[in-house]
Symmetry: C2
Subunit: 223 residues, 2 copies
């Protein structure tokens, strides 16, 4: 479902050039659950943003379900982001003056789906936040905000879930609950890619890709 070929992404700050991705290649089959690991600054979030069609790349090729993403227009990219992909951001990216319930239902409203509010309430129940539905992000703990971000990513029942460190702010028990939701989604055949630093999260992934300095240094699934 994902084919990345020699992806490159460069940033420029002052006179310096940062090769955030320095030639990343791998293929992910439909239904695989993959962990992406690597030290802080190794390029994981940069890669996830490209896979999620949230950011461009400077060189290489990205095929999503066989379609060359570089050839797509903004409308088509927006449709893919809202309908096909669920994305959990490392920094949550919740709307500030908006309740947890309204934050979670947003992807369904964009997709024109019915019963957005009921589904959002159900999703928040599944992540253990049914007593926090009307709280705004500033009225939630760090881990509660993280769970709202997870609920929002899962609500559209996405074909591809991309989760960038979805449990970093959670205790073990709450982490297990979130992992349980990911496994339930996975069992319906969805493809899941999780960036994580936590061994218990990597442990539930059949496949493991490790980045260092913008390159793949390990890939348990490579032929």
């Amino acid at each position: 479902v994902i084919t990345a070929r020699d992806l490159r992404r460069t940033y420029h700050v002052g006179d310096s050039t940062i090769n955030a991705l320095d030639g990343v290649s791998f293929s992910i089959k439909p239904g695989e659950m993959t962990a992406i690991l690597g030290s802080s600054g190794s390029g994981k979030s940069t890669l996830m943003h490209i896979l999620g069609c949230l950011d461009r790349f400077d060189a290489g090729e990205y095929l999503l379900d066989g379609v060359n993403v570089a050839t797509l227009g903004e409308d088509e990219l927006a449709r893919i982001r809202n309908v096909k992909i669920g994305f959990v951001f490392q920094t949550f990216n919740l709307l500030p003056r908006t309740s947890a319930l309204e934050n979670v239902e947003l992807p369904l409203l964009y997709a024109g789906r019915r019963q957005a509010r009921e589904r959002a309430a159900e999703m928040l129940r599944l992540v253990g936040l049914e007593s926090r539905m009307d709280h705004e992000p500033s009225q939630l703990s760090g881990g509660q905000r993280q769970r709202v971000a997870v609920a929002r990513a899962l609500i559209g029942d996405p074909a591809l879930l991309l989760a960038d460190e979805p449990t970093g702010n959670l205790d073990t028990k709450t982490t297990d609950e979130i992992l349980g939701l990911f496994r339930t989604l996975h069992e319906t055949g969805r493809t899941i890619v999780v960036v994580t630093h936590e061994p218990e999260v990597a442990a539930v992934c059949a496949r493991r890709i490790v980045l260092r300095d913008g390159r793949v240094i390990e890939d348990s699934g490579s032929p």
Copy 2:
């Protein structure tokens, strides 16, 4: 150095009342290194903000070095926050259009200390960010932002370090480096309180306090 007696903090959202802290009591001696654990939403950040003189409490008593914090005026509280305490926020709270170097030197500028810039550069070197000093927060990875927040908290060589989940976005190796810095600070006799979900961080703390639903349910140091 810290005496908390029956601390209470209540939030109101709509018609509901949330007892974020529901009678928290403990004493921390000078030079102790304490881990605060508890599930997501159990009150850890709320407690840390009160200990850091960043937030008020609704009932109970907080003595910091024998001084009753409720009797202090805003100027004195500001001085304590900037000079005596180093605080690592769960959400980092970095200034946006400001380089890592400028973010880190800020506490020293507030305290009127000399050589703020040289010390900030040294601090960033210690957290592994010497090649990122001129980057703004939006030009840093999640774990790099977290390390800037740690550097800023440590730069004033604070008597009391309060760190709210300082390694949640870091891989194991980088976590160990940060823990090394905390242990170095601890060995000079400083008092350290760390909120964490990570066993390897709790493991370096001699004392452990566990919260649930705004109460202390476990305290390895209580008499």
